[in-house]
Symmetry: C2
Subunit: 312 residues, 2 copies
C-alpha cells in the first residue's frame, strides 16, 4: 500500500508518495519565511500527489510528517518551529480537516532514524541509534523496531549529552555537549583551530588559502592524503564521536549505530575509524554485546521515507 | 497476593515474602565465598518463607530475583557474577525444578529502580531513572511503568557514561565516566584531595586527623557546618552528578530521578542542590518538561521489594 511522507525543512516542504520504502512520486514547495501558520501549500502538495497518481485517500495507509523543532507527537502538535513560525500549532488536527486518513507527526531526527531502520541501512536490525551529524547533532532511538521519543516525546536529544564537562559552549546553554564536538560545525571549528596552528598544513591549499572555505570535508580529505595536522583533527573528532557512541551503547545496547548527515559521506573511512576506537574499550564494546556502525543510505530521501514509515 | 523477592548480594542472600509492596516476612543467609553455583541455600530460604507463613506455591504470584553482575534476563541466566562464582548459570531454569511458579531475574540496579517506581519514592510516576550512588553508580530505567534493560538486557549502565573526556580512570577501562565522579568512591577521592590542599579544613577534625576515616558523609557534614573546603567539594560533586542527570533527562525526559545508595542519605539537602544546578540550564530543565529529583525510600528493602515487583 502507498503512504505519504512529508518532510518539513528549513527552506521547503517536500511531499512524497512512498511504496515499499521507495519514493514513487514527489514534489517540493519553497516556504515563504513570512507565511506563518498556513497549511494551504501542504494541502495542495498532498492533493497533487494523489491526483497525479490517480489515487484517493482510500489508497493510502496514511500521512506521516517529520518536522524540526519541539513536537508533541501524541497530540500531533508542533510546540515550536521557528522557520515555519509555528507555535502550539495543531498540525495533525488541522490536516485531518482536509484528509480523512491516519496522520502522524514526529521530530525530523526521529523520523530519519525510523526510515533507516525500516527501509535503509539498518533494515536488518530492531534496535538502533541514529546520530545525524550536521549543523547540530540530531538523535533518533529505535527500540524493538519502534520509535522511542522519550517522555512527552521530548527526549532522544542525543546531541545534548555533555561529554566534556566545562568544555566548548553549546547552543543549548550547557558546555561540552556531544553536539559541540561531533557536529559538522564542531569539526569545522576544530579544523580551523588546527590550521591556525599549522601554517604549512596541506589544508591551507585545500581551501585556496581562505579559512572561510573550510568545510566538513577539509580535514577528512587532507588526512586521507597524509597531512599530519588534518590527521590529528580527524583523530580527535573520531574520539569525541566514539565516546558519545559508547555512552549510548552502555545505556541502550543497540545492535547498530547509524551515522547520518553531511559527515556520513565519509562512509567506511569514518565507520572503520569509529569501530577501531570503540574496540579499545572492552567494557563498552569487546566484552559487551557487539554493535555495528554504519552510515545512512537514504540520504536526502530519509525525511520523506522516514515520515511515511510513521503510518506503515 | 503474595510474591517472593530474592536479593542476591555480595555477602548474603536475602529472601522476603512481599504483599502490597511491604515485606511481611524475610530471612537472610550469608554466602560462603567458595560455595560456587549451589542453589541449595536459596531453596531452603524460599521453602522456609512459605512454610513459616503457612503458604504454598499457589498462594504466590511468583519469585523475582535481583542479582548483581551480567544478566540475561529473558533467558533467566546469570552470565557472570564474581561473588557467587556463577558463570553462564541458568538460575531461573534450575529454580523452576523446585518451584512451579513464575520466576523472573534481573540486574540488582534495575530491580531497585522498579521497586522505587512501583512501591517507593516514585510511585506516582510512570517514567523514572534511578541512580544508585555507592561504590559505583548503578542505573535503572523505567519507561511507561516497565523496566527497560536495554538490548540483550545489558544496557542501563548509566554510570558508564563519560562526562569528562580523558578524565579520571574508571573501572570499566574508560576515562571520565559518571561513576568515577558521582559514586561514593568518587566523592571520597575528591574529599581526600581537597583535605590535602586544605590542612586547616574542619574535615580533618571530623575524621580525627586520619584521612583513612574519610567517608561519603565527611564533606557533606562539614559543608553543612560551614567549612569552605568541604563546600567546594560538595559543589563540585553536585555539578558532576547534575550533569549526568541532565544528560539522561535530554535522552529520556523522565518525570523523576531517584537517587539511591549511601549518598542518598543526604536527602533534601542533596536533591535541592541538584535541582538548583539543573535549573540554571534552560534547555535541559526550565524550558523542557520538568522532572523531579527525589531520594529512594525503600532503603535496604529495595532489593527484596523490587525483585518481588518483577512478578507482580
Amino acid at each position: 500500500m502507498y503512504s505519504i511522507g512529508i518532510d518539513i525543512g528549513g527552506m521547503s516542504i517536500k511531499a512524497g508518495l512512498v511504496k515499499d520504502g521507495k519514493i514513487v512520486s514527489s514534489n517540493r514547495k519553497v516556504t515563504a519565511p513570512t507565511s506563518g501558520q498556513s497549511l494551504e501549500n501542504l494541502i495542495v502538495q498532498i492533493n497533487a500527489l494523489l491526483s497525479e497518481n490517480s489515487l484517493t485517500e482510500k489508497d493510502i495507509a496514511g500521512i506521516g510528517i517529520g518536522c524540526p523543532g519541539l513536537i508533541s507527537s501524541e497530540e500531533g502538535v508542533v510546540d515550536h518551529n521557528s522557520n515555519m513560525k509555528w507555535e502550539n500549532f495543531h498540525l495533525v488536527d488541522l490536516l485531518k480537516q482536509s484528509f480523512n486518513v491516519k496522520i502522524k507527526l514526529s521530530n525530523d531526527a526521529n523520523v530519519a532514524a525510523l526510515g533507516e531502520t525500516v527501509y535503509g541501512s539498518a533494515a536488518q536490525y530492531k534496535n538502533a541509534i541514529m546520530l545525524t551529524l550536521g549543523t547540530g547533532v540530531g538523535g533518533g532511538i529505535i527500540i524493538d523496531g519502534k520509535l522511542y521519543e522519550g517522555g512527552f516525546s521530548k527526549g532522544a536529544e542525543l546531541g545534548h549529552m555533555v561529554i566534556v564537562k566545562d568544555g566548548e559552549k553549546c547552543g543549548c546553554g550547557r558546555r561540552g555537549c556531544l553536539e559541540a564536538y561531533a557536529s559538522a560545525t564542531g569539526l569545522i571549528r576544530m579544523t580551523k583551530t588546527a590550521m591556525k596552528n599549522a601554517p604549512d598544513s596541506a589544508m591551507w591549499n585545500y581551501v585556496d588559502g581562505d579559512i572561510n572555505k573550510v568545510g566538513g570535508k577539509t580535514a577528512f580529505e587532507c588526512a586521507k592524503a597524509g597531512d599530519k595536522a588534518a590527521e590529528k583533527v580527524i583523530s580527535e573528532y573520531v574520539a569525541y564521536l566514539a565516546e558519545g557512541i559508547m555512552n549510548l551503547a552502555n545505556i541502550f545496547r543497540p545492535e547498530v549505530f547509524i551515522i547520518g548527515g553531511g559527515v556520513s559521506a565519509q562512509g567506511k573511512y569514518l565507520t572503520d575509524r569509529l569501530k577501531g576506537y570503540c574496540e579499545k574499550f572492552n567494557y563498552g564494546y569487546t566484552n559487551a554485546p557487539k554493535f555495528d556502525i554504519v552510515t545512512a543510505t537514504l540520504g536526502n530521501d530519509a525525511g520523506i521515507i522516514g515520515a511515511a514509515a510513521l503510518v506503515v
